[in-house]
Symmetry: C2
Subunit: 521 residues, 2 copies
């Protein structure tokens, strides 16, 4: 009893949205009882908030890069022999070696028999023993408390106090997380409420890391864009904050301001004065402050330094320090360790209402706990070897080598990009990215036909050179300007190749559109 004849009309009907698959995958199949079996989950019935989510860092260009890579392995011909992925801050994938001490501690925690091995240093063993003491049944395989292992939270608090030159940190305010993303989404989730004009508005920088816009879409919050000042090294301009806030007040209730410092994708390091202005603004306007500080160890300009929002808030006095609600985020994925795969991170909250805090713990408890091996990795980052300990020298050498290489690559990237006509790159003061402005000739813009012109640019770059970048439109940019984000993570040698190919491509691209004029500013 083949159901085919009856399927056909439906199959034709549904063809416009489902271009090519076998009948088994058609949305409609005849059931035994003569009724149709329809798919329950289609693009029409999919949660519209899920549909609205966009995440360019792993978007279509990256998918295409993966396809090309597999093609190369299978012998397909391309005008290049390898794909260079500079689309994502994934240090180890680009060849960075793990910090030995961190991995020793994680291995010891994973297989405690190694605590008897003479080939592991005593300080790594001491860290591992302490972590295991904090785990149920002394095993990394137990659930931790939803906030994380107590002693690791205590180590985080000590780290923050030292980082902030004595500003007190209470481990009751520390929550270990599954990477920083998890903490950011949890806090945003708490903050979204109201309907219509009273719906929560979330101020985010433009350009931004697209986790923010994705989470805002998913939570149906209102995104409030404040633009960073490209002409001023991507600095945050307090007047722009006021403008964005006043404009947004007309249609939503602005409740949150997100700051990424050092900046992603923009690489700027925020000045102390600017942080103070932002905090004063948040204080005045009753905003909850979310400071994404995952690049706190990634500052390359010798004349700049990282200031935590918390420390500045403290220095502004008790009226600020005791009232402004602040959540700060950190991660194992960046810094000098680059341990993305472990999904470790923490957040520190300040001035959170006590009942709300209990609600936060309840919310986190549904997912039980962050990965405990990621928690262990976080512990090493906040509690590294001390000068008198046996692992200190090697640790210090490895850490300095990573940060030194990044500083060098930040400079090479900026300098080389600025030699290319039609590309202008701000200094890469921190983080792991350059976000240069690229001139795209008007004819190329016209020919983009619905796609964003920088997407077309990056696709062609990938197809012609094997270089995988993310178009600026994935992060947001001022109307009519175009950018891309590239990481500075390839090895120095590979980075130079990348930059050379990029320059050649860009010049060819401009020539093709017969307009080697300088971009309009």
């Amino acid at each position: 009893a083949s159901p085919l004849p009856l399927i056909l009309p439906f199959f034709i009907f549904s063809c416009h949205s489902f271009p090519s698959f076998s009948t088994a995958e058609a949305t409609v199949i005849l059931r035994e009882n003569g009724k149709m079996r329809e798919k329950t989950l289609t693009m029409d019935t999919l949660n519209p908030q899920v549909k609205a989510v966009e995440y360019a860092v792993r978007g279509p260009i990256v998918t295409k890069a993966g396809d090309i890579e597999r093609g190369l392995q299978q012998g397909q011909k391309h005008p290049f022999t390898e794909v260079i992925k500079a689309n994502i801050g994934d240090s180890h994938a680009m060849g960075q070696k793990p910090i030995t001490f961190l991995r020793q501690v994680v291995a010891l925690c994973s297989f405690p028999e190694l605590l008897n091995s003479p080939s592991f240093p005593e300080d790594a063993k001491q860290r591992a023993r302490r972590i295991l003491q904090g785990c149920g049944g002394q095993s990394l395989g137990s659930y931790s408390a939803s906030q994380g292992v107590d002693c690791i939270r205590q180590d985080v608090a000590v780290y923050i106090e030292q980082r902030d030159k004595g500003v007190p940190a209470d481990w009751d305010n520390i929550y270990l997380t599954t990477g920083a993303s998890d903490g950011i989404v949890s806090i945003l989730k708490m903050l979204v409420s109201g309907q219509g004009r009273s719906r929560s508005g979330v101020m985010i920088p433009i350009p931004q890391y697209p986790l923010y816009s994705a989470a805002i879409s998913e939570l149906e919050a209102v995104q409030i864009n404040y633009y960073l000042d490209e002409d001023n090294c991507w600095a945050l301009d307090i007047n722009e904050l006021h403008r964005a806030y006043q404009a947004a007040k007309e249609h939503c209730h602005p409740r949150v301001i997100c700051i990424i410092n050092p900046g992603n994708p923009t690489g700027q390091v925020q000045s102390r004065k600017c942080i103070e202005e932002v905090l004063h603004f948040a204080y005045e306007e009753n905003l909850f402050v979310m400071s994404d500080e995952v690049y706190q160890d990634n500052v390359y300009s010798p004349d700049l330094q990282f200031h935590s929002f918390k420390k500045v808030l403290y220095e502004m006095g008790p009226e600020y320090f005791n009232t402004v609600e602040l959540a700060s985020f950190h991660s194992t994925s960046k810094g000098y360790s680059g341990e993305c795969g472990f999904r470790g991170g923490y957040m520190e909250v300040l001035n959170l209402d006590l009942e709300v805090k209990a609600q936060l713990v309840k919310l986190l408890s549904v997912r039980l706990c962050p990965p405990v091996s990621g928690q262990a990795a976080m512990d090493v980052i906040v509690n590294p070897p001390l000068p008198h300990e046996p692992s200190y020298l090697q640790f210090h050498k490895e850490k300095s080598a990573v940060l030194g290489a990044l500083a060098e690559k930040a400079q090479i990237t900026e300098q080389t990009l600025n030699t290319v006509p039609g590309i202008k790159c701000n200094p890469v003061q921190g983080a792991m990215y350059a976000f240069p402005r690229i001139f795209i000739p008007p004819r190329a813009v016209e020919e983009s036909l619905g796609m964003s012109p920088d997407m077309v640019y990056c696709l062609r770059l990938l197809e012609e050179t094997g270089i995988c970048l993310v178009p600026g439109s994935g992060f947001g940019q001022r109307e009519g300007t175009y950018h891309f984000r590239m990481t500075i993570l390839p090895t120095t040698e590979k980075l130079k190749v990348l930059l050379e190919k990029l320059r050649d491509f860009h010049i060819k691209f401009l020539k093709e559109y017969a307009s080697l004029e300088e971009p309009k500013r």
Copy 2:
């Protein structure tokens, strides 16, 4: 300029909801400009969907147990010397030892220098090398693809094919997850849409594992309860499914059916016939099937066996196998390994619309990837040592010891509980829990005053004996019946102590209310 005088009226005003804290934590403080600094995030402005979430497995009783435990350590006097936690399926915390082979592989992946160590067996090294080959830069510290490491997904597919006696599994349908919870929430998130009477309804068993009700609350979906048949060993009754479905159709659009097999908290193992009935029902009513199969290795009754929903679907023929949308979930946390802390898991999807699949990958990509060490742990579970490999004997011995002990404890628990007047326990056929019905005298019910009577019961049990269980009301139960969930995870010795204390407490409790009569059925 102390703001205190002006704060006071507000502080008094807010006292009813914030019983005790310092002025620094009051919700309202005077700002320099004379306006009030109000907290942005309070119970009044908190996301109401977050407020609605409940999760009893880590609820108030567990918090109280933690407080008592800390009190004991500090020398506080209680009528017991230790807290016995039987509230959560956390095997290692209850003393179960990790599977050596699994931990060897994870340690090798974490610190690849160990690949040169003669003290690790060759089969563990071979697994670790294969996993590392699949990781960017051969490091566990790289992000994996959002669906997980390719070769691990391939291993999962091979495992499923073997488990299901040759039913084909395509690794394109495998998604590695952060524990099973993460996968379940992701799939539910996709399925929620519509407003009012067309809002998605999700059928869940009662009693259920409260992740389901929590996720449904958070997503504002409509919860549809179908009751398991306590008088028939908690079997799923197809007539009850029809009843629940028809009743729900009046006020929502039922789109999903969730099944937990083996059952949590109810411990039943579903019969093949019953699975077929459920799948036929889902086929007829266009329901998306979510089968939570995390206890697939935990079947203790020698006359029962685990049947996967997928295998049964296959055996029902291509009309079913090629159409019914199914997601099945597994985890590293349960089974014989009990590796909760690694947050490893996978899901397999069947018949998912191709565009929807792309949307799922996009949604997962925002969180980048599941923890890679959890993925490695999952790999060992689906790809354990084979009989000819050097680690086989030890692995087999450890696995059998864990599962043998669990089977023994399942029996001890059921039998002992059934000797207590006023307690009736169904056989613990699988999973890790007993969910006995307890008789609570009418006067004790009356005295509960707003709290659920089984919550009062479990609180008293904790305070008087140190035993930490979860009241049945946290999982759902038929009106007027009372239960608790206890795990069978304590060591046999400790379990016997627990059961004895529980019996004494229950008899005392009944005597106190002067009603030793049998519970009404």
